[in-house]
């Protein structure tokens, strides 16, 4: 009968389900990849922004010179004259990934350029990340939730913002590594398999290679282990999942040059060791509990606790002494600013000056995770029904990441996967409830459905019952013994408690409307994501476009300037600019820079900041002492490009003033206000940055109207004595000045009047337009 067919049909159904979910996953991967291609289609296949240019340059070096030269690479093109040991100070994960990818492709005779590989690394890894999210959520709440979470993650705007094609940054691969590490942890926790635990350590190693955010993993997992132990969920599986991670993971992490001994020396990692000790103590306790009788156990406990307390106290004392001896208490500046959100703005202006280190605003939550923000609470509730090891991890993950994203807008990226997983669970559960309600209440299945829901709930459990039962219920007619039947049903419900207790049945209309609304919500999310991917996050920021009445206008000034530097200056010339443009200058112009976006030397940045804030002569002296030949400033006043150097100028003053006290911020502010118009302070109007930005600007329109600040500039006609303009781009966005060679010293410094005269004469000789 039917009973004989069911095993076959159920395996068939399962196989079909598997194929379907593989197919869906494939589509999700394609979606994740292709939604990130807007930047290539709308602009071009080009590396974006600032940091990706550095990564791109490192990858170029790696592919050209090989891995050993890469580890030993001392870069003399940056931080002149200090240089930078790239091999030892960079997270190599991304570079090695793209380099390997390129090598594999080339060995298969697929001649893709390094740039192309770099551009498409991020979209490829976001596809991987959504698959990893599927695996993780599947471990937490099953296949349905997994697929939903993967689909949500494939297009969550927050992640798109960091992984569009061309955004070749550490986060692109790190989010995948993060989710995959969590998945392997949960898998190891669920299965208790040492195999997965080892994989977990390797995946953690990859994460350490990729991003400084690995400290999140090495703190979150111990937190979860601790939570499990405290709530009495300790098991051997927990031990297997955790202990190998700490041992192997720490060993592997210290192999990464940039981490090295930090893996055991800094406070970020101490939590994991502490929990490592605790879990061993707990394991020992459980073991002893198993072999001793209860009385003996009590004795043992008192003994162990007293000894253990002494030992722990000693260890703690040593640790505290060690930690306290370091000025930052063993925490790095960025970690401290995470723990204390006001730390950076108080002590390290350089961290605070980066916009992505600011706390986010409420709209940015809506922009970045959209409807997920509303679904997350539902997901958390679903995780508690019932609470398993895996779902408690998911809850812990979302809670911590919400906190971190609240501190730094950049860490919204860590929140996004958690939000997707939670929303995936919520959506999947909601759909489950609603579709089940509808299924049981559809007229074709049962007649007096609310009553029979219990029966059919049973059907869900085994198919054998299903056919028979539905036949039965079809035959049923309303009878006088309704009461008995109801009772019968109630009893039945209690027979299969586990499935039926959860099965709350909603009215048909309500569930139909709810499903409709959920679909609408999902549609809204999709529309928002596509919009965000297409409009908000796809600009490469080195090419700007504006739409005007006569069509699209392209501002390609940055590359114009870098191209000019690349071709028309000497190979060894040094270019000074604010640190934002350091990476781009080294990568695109191939010239030596003084400071770059890797802000490791505050003093050096402060020197450049001081030079920019000083009057011309002092600045010339600073730059000359640094062997600088060209000075590059970004100026948006002509076309209204807001993130130019004048708008960043206060940070230069602050950072410069932080090291060189003769630069004082109040000197540049008029009554606490930053202005460049006629009310501006003389210090401001005489600063090098002002002069280089507005040199001959007044001649463009006769008034010198700055379109960014929406004001006329304060000092209009002035000349440069120590610098000369050598290049200005088409829209004036980048201006490059050359340091004039020093004057001959024959006249001596004592005769001031004479030297003045000579300077004047030399000025006329140079055919200065102001004479």
């Amino acid at each position: 009968m039917a009973a004989l067919e069911t095993p076959q049909s159920s395996t068939l159904r399962q196989a079909f389900g598997n194929v379907l979910s593989v197919f869906i996953l494939l589509l999700i991967g394609i979606l994740a990849f292709s939604i990130r291609l807007f930047s290539v289609i709308k602009y071009e296949s080009v590396i974006h922004e600032f940091d990706p240019y550095f990564n791109y340059r490192v990858t170029q070096f790696l592919t050209k010179n090989g891995i050993y030269d890469f580890w030993n690479w001392f870069d003399d093109r940056t931080w002149y004259p200090l240089g930078r040991v790239i091999g030892g100070t960079v997270y190599p994960g991304l570079t090695l990934t793209a380099g390997t990818l390129w090598r594999i492709l080339n060995s298969l005779n697929i001649p893709l350029s390094v740039e192309t590989v770099c551009v498409f690394t991020a979209p490829i890894f976001s596809a991987f990340a959504s698959w990893a999210a599927y695996l993780l959520t599947k471990e937490v709440k099953g296949v349905g939730a997994g697929l939903t979470a993967a689909a949500l993650l494939a297009m969550v705007p927050s992640y798109i913002s960091r992984s569009v094609a061309g955004s070749y940054d550490n986060e692109a691969v790190a989010i995948f590594a993060l989710i995959f590490t969590f998945y392997l942890y949960i898998k190891a926790l669920n299965t208790g398999s040492l195999f997965y635990a080892t994989l977990n350590a390797i995946s953690y190693f990859y994460m350490v290679c990729s991003w400084g955010g690995y400290t999140f993993i090495i703190n979150l997992i111990p937190m979860h282990v601790l939570l499990c132990i405290v709530t009495g969920r300790y098991s051997s599986r927990l031990y297997i999942a955790y202990a190998p991670l700490v041992v192997l993971g720490t060993l592997l992490a210290s192999l990464v040059p940039v981490v090295g001994f930090n893996a055991v020396m800094t406070s970020e990692h101490f939590a994991s060791f502490l929990v490592f000790i605790i879990i061993h103590v707990v394991a020992l306790v459980y073991y002893i509990k198993g072999i001793l009788s209860p009385q003996m156990f009590k004795v043992a406990v008192t003994l162990v606790v007293s000894i253990g307390l002494i030992v722990c106290g000693a260890v703690l004392a040593v640790l505290i002494a060690m930690v306290a001896s370091s000025p930052t208490k063993g925490w790095s500046g960025r970690s401290l600013s995470l723990l204390d959100p006001t730390y950076a703005s108080k002590y390290i202006p350089i961290i605070a000056s980066v916009s992505e280190h600011q706390p986010p605003t409420w709209p940015s939550y809506f922009m970045d995770i959209n409807v997920l923000a509303f679904l997350v609470p539902a997901g958390i509730i679903a995780c508690f029904l019932p609470l398993s090891d895996a779902s408690s991890f998911a809850v812990l993950y979302i809670v911590t990441s919400v906190y971190f994203s609240g501190v730094m807008v950049r860490l919204m990226l860590v929140l996004a996967p958690a939000a997707c997983i939670m929303s995936g669970i919520a959506l999947s559960e909601a759909f489950g409830v609603f579709t089940r309600s509808i299924k049981f209440q559809l007229p074709g299945v049962t007649q007096n459905s609310p009553v029979n829901a219990g029966d059919t709930g049973n059907v869900m459990q085994n198919d054998v019952v299903k056919t028979e039962k539905s036949e039965d219920s079809l035959k049923e007619r309303p009878s006088r013994k309704n009461k008995k039947k109801e009772k019968d049903n109630v009893e039945r419900a209690s027979v299969v408690p586990k499935t039926e207790k959860r099965l709350s049945v909603l009215p048909l209309e309500a569930s139909v409307i709810a499903i409709f609304l959920l679909v609408l919500l999902g549609a809204f999310y999709v529309v928002h994501c596509v919009w965000a991917a297409a409009e908000a996050y796809s600009a490469p920021s080195i090419v700007l476009t504006s739409r005007s009445h006569d069509g699209l206008h392209v501002f390609d000034d940055f590359r114009e300037a870098y191209g000019w530097l690349r071709h028309n200056t000497e190979v060894d010339d040094k270019v000074a600019s604010w640190w934002d443009y350091g990476y781009q200058t080294t990568a695109m112009a191939n010239r030596t820079v003084i400071v770059d976006n890797n802000t490791w030397n505050n003093t050096h940045i402060a020197t450049v900041g001081t030079a920019m804030s000083s009057p011309e002569k002092a600045a010339w002296e600073i730059f000359n002492s640094l062997d600088v030949k060209y000075v590059l400033v970004v100026f948006g006043g002509l076309v209204g490009y807001p993130s130019d150097d004048i708008n960043k100028f206060l940070w230069m003053v602050r950072i410069g003033g932080g090291v060189f006290p003769h630069i004082k911020e109040p000197d540049y502010l008029r009554d606490g206000q930053y202005r460049i118009d006629s009310q501006a302070t003389p210090t401001m109007l005489n600063s090098l940055m002002y002069k280089l930005s507005y040199y001959r600007f007044v001649e463009t329109d006769g008034k010198g109207f700055d379109r960014v600040r929406n004001t006329e500039i304060g000092k209009k006609y002035f000349k440069l004595t120590h610098f000369e303009e050598v290049f200005t781009t088409h829209h004036w966005m980048v201006r490059i000045y050359k340091l004039k060679p020093p004057k001959n010293r024959i006249r001596g410094k004592t005769k001031k009047a004479k030297s003045k005269a000579s300077s004047k004469r030399s000025g006329t000789l140079k055919n200065n337009p102001w004479h």
Binding site: S45, K481, E491, V554, E560, H567
Partner: protein
């Protein structure tokens, strides 16, 4: 400059004395020389009429050029001009070779032109000599500011330098603009508009030389490509892909001092006259997928127009090119295969132009690479002028042995070299299918391996303990599945009994109920029979030790449940037969019912436990 010229003059006088008697058989009766200075190249067109005044026949004519010009001679062509106005085909290009006649001083380079037919006594022939020189225009002054105009100096001889005596000759120098800074004034010198005319001069002996210098304004683009690599890749799928990498600089007067964008934008033709903004590439018609980029990305300043005769690509470098400024970029485009690939005598040949598609660019070193499809054989090249030829191999998409690459190198290339050349090769069309087949088979084998892997048993040792254990475990699992199946069916039967009771309560049909009971009984018996071998197997298997107690418990529970159900059933049926009231029936059954419920729950729990195992 003046000194050099003076030296040359001395030299020429020296070998005039030496050579004059040797080559005096021929006389040039009429000579018109036009020097075109309107671009950065110097194009001279000399039409000369040669007469044989000697005794013997002459089949060769010598053309000398001073070394300082000859080293910059990019192109030289001699044609026979057949009457005026009638230009007869292009077949007239005569073979030229470099010779070094004996007893010649080193400051001259000689080119020997072979005439198509020997020139008898008293016969004459008219020739057109076209020569193109590069780099012989010198910017003077060498450095200018942004606002200055670019001045160039050109030096040559007013008289045609020839080993033969010249009866009548004229020289016309054409300038780009009618602005001359200075020029050497000789007798019979006229300036009209943008032309300077020297001559006619009559009856000059061989090797006459009078230096002239023209200093003039030329703001034409001085785009010189240090190197141009053209890669022409043939795909028999229907595309010829051309990629051209330029390394261009402005070879005119160097810019000095400030570059002010303000001045440049306000008065681009005054302050920035010497700079060039754009270049126009004339691509073949139906060029598609055109791109223009450099190593840091796409360059957005380009325009493309196309009609049936040509495709025009106007490209603008990232910045205006002032004197001495450099840039590099790549343009690429695809061309339809059928326009360029033809077949003849069993061979295919590619017929495509050699030089650069931009008219104003001088190329110092041109490398043309023709990438033929993988598997091409019998490759030969025919180029209308001498080039350096190499062969390479290139690996591209899905190549196994690599594609043959013909590399043609030539230095000092001018637009006159933009001639068609041919590459002949043999290629079997079936080889086209090789790569798709490789892909298909690759994927096929991938899937096959997956299938094999899923189905194959990769255990190394078939007798090892763990393997045996695994096998046994599999058996146990199947047994347990069967067991579960049977149990499920038992439960179904129980449900049926319950259902029959319910039917009874509704319809009161005792007989039907009894029949159901009977059917259920027989079914249960069958099931218990089926269950026996399974249970005995599970008892015998060592792997099932863990699960066995649960299984047995479940069996026991099921038995009990069965009994209770039967009891309930018979009680209810009894009650019905005795026509007792519903309430009483319920009372009687109640205790049994409770038990049943309990048992059921326990059975379900057991089910789940077994499931988990």
């Amino acid at each position: 400059m003046r000194e050099i010229r003076f030296d040359l003059l001395l030299l020429f006088i020296a070998f005039y004395v030496l050579l004059a008697p040797v080559l005096s058989d021929l006389v040039i009766s009429k000579l018109d020389r036009r020097v075109d200075l309107s671009s950065q190249m110097v194009r001279t067109t000399t039409s000369l009429k040669v007469e044989n005044n000697g005794v013997g026949t002459v089949s060769e004519i010598l053309l000398p050029f001073p070394d300082h010009q000859a080293k910059d001679l990019a192109f030289l062509m001699v044609t026979i001009s057949e009457g005026k106005g009638k230009i007869k085909g292009v077949s007239g290009s005569l073979p030229i070779r470099v010779v070094k006649p004996e007893e010649t001083p080193p400051a001259l380079s000689w080119y020997l032109v072979s005439l198509p037919k020997e020139l008898g006594k008293g016969e004459s022939i008219s020739l057109d000599v076209k020569a193109v020189f590069t780099h012989i225009l010198r910017p003077f002054p060498e450095k200018i500011t942004q606002a200055d105009i670019q001045l160039l100096a050109f030096q040559d001889s007013a008289y045609y330098l020839s080993p033969y005596a010249v009866k009548v000759q004229t020289l016309t120098v054409k300038l780009p603009e009618p602005k001359v800074e200075s020029y050497t004034k000789l007798e019979n010198t006229k300036v009209s508009g943008s032309e300077i005319k020297y001559g006619p001069y009559e009856n000059l002996p061989s090797f006459s030389y009078t230096p002239i210098v023209v200093h003039f304004v030329n703001n034409k683009p001085f785009a010189v490509a240090r190197e141009l690599v053209r890669e022409i890749e043939i795909s028999h799928w229907g595309n010829v892909q051309v990629t051209e990498s330029y390394n261009i600089h402005h070879a005119g007067a160097l810019i000095t001092g400030e570059f002010s964008r303000l001045d440049y934008q306000a008065r681009p033709h005054v302050r920035g006259a010497s700079a060039f903004r754009n270049l126009v590439a004339k691509l073949p018609p139906r060029a598609h997928s055109v791109y223009y980029r450099d190593e840091i990305g796409n360059i957005s300043t380009s325009n493309l127009w196309g009609d049936s005769a040509k495709t025009l690509l106007e490209i603008e470098p990232r910045y205006p090119m002032f004197g001495g400024w450099r840039t590099s970029f790549t343009i690429g485009y695809g061309l339809p295969l059928q326009d360029f690939l033809f077949q003849s005598e069993g061979k295919r040949y590619l017929n495509i132009s050699f030089g650069c598609p931009m008219d104003e660019v001088v190329i110092e070193k041109l490398v043309v690479k023709i990438v033929l499809p993988e598997g091409s054989k019998d490759i030969s090249v025919s180029v209308p002028f001498p080039v350096n030829q190499l062969e390479e191999t290139k690996f591209s998409h899905l190549d196994m042995v690599g594609r043959p690459v013909i590399v043609l190198e030539k230095s000092n290339v001018v637009p006159e070299h933009n001639q068609y050349f041919q590459v002949y090769y043999k290629f079997n069309s079936l080889s086209l299918l090789w790569e798709p087949l490789m892909l298909i088979s690759g994927f096929f084998f991938l899937f096959v391996t997956c299938i094999v892997y899923m189905h194959a048993d990769l255990t190394i040792s078939k007798s090892s303990a763990s393997y045996m254990a695994k096998l046994q475990w599999d058996e146990v699992q199947t047994a347990i599945q069967q067991f579960q199946n049977i149990m499920n069916r038992c439960m179904t039967v129980h449900d049926k009994i319950e259902a029959s009771l319910r039917d009874l309560s509704r319809t009161g049909d005792v007989q039907a109920c009894k029949a159901a009971r009977k059917a259920a009984d027989s079914l249960l018996k069958e099931l218990s029979k089926e269950l026996k071998p399974l249970l005995s197997f599970l008892q015998s298997s060592p792997q099932a030790v863990q699960i066995l107690p649960k299984v047995e418990e479940l069996v026991a529970k099921e038995k009990e449940l069965q009994e209770k159900l039967m009891l309930k059933h018979s009680t209810v049926v009894d009650c019905y037969e005795k026509k007792l009231g519903g309430r009483e029936t319920e009372n009687r059954v109640a205790s049994v019912q409770q038990k049943i419920t309990l048992l059921r729950q326990e059975a379900e729990d057991l089910f789940e436990i077994i499931d988990e195992i």
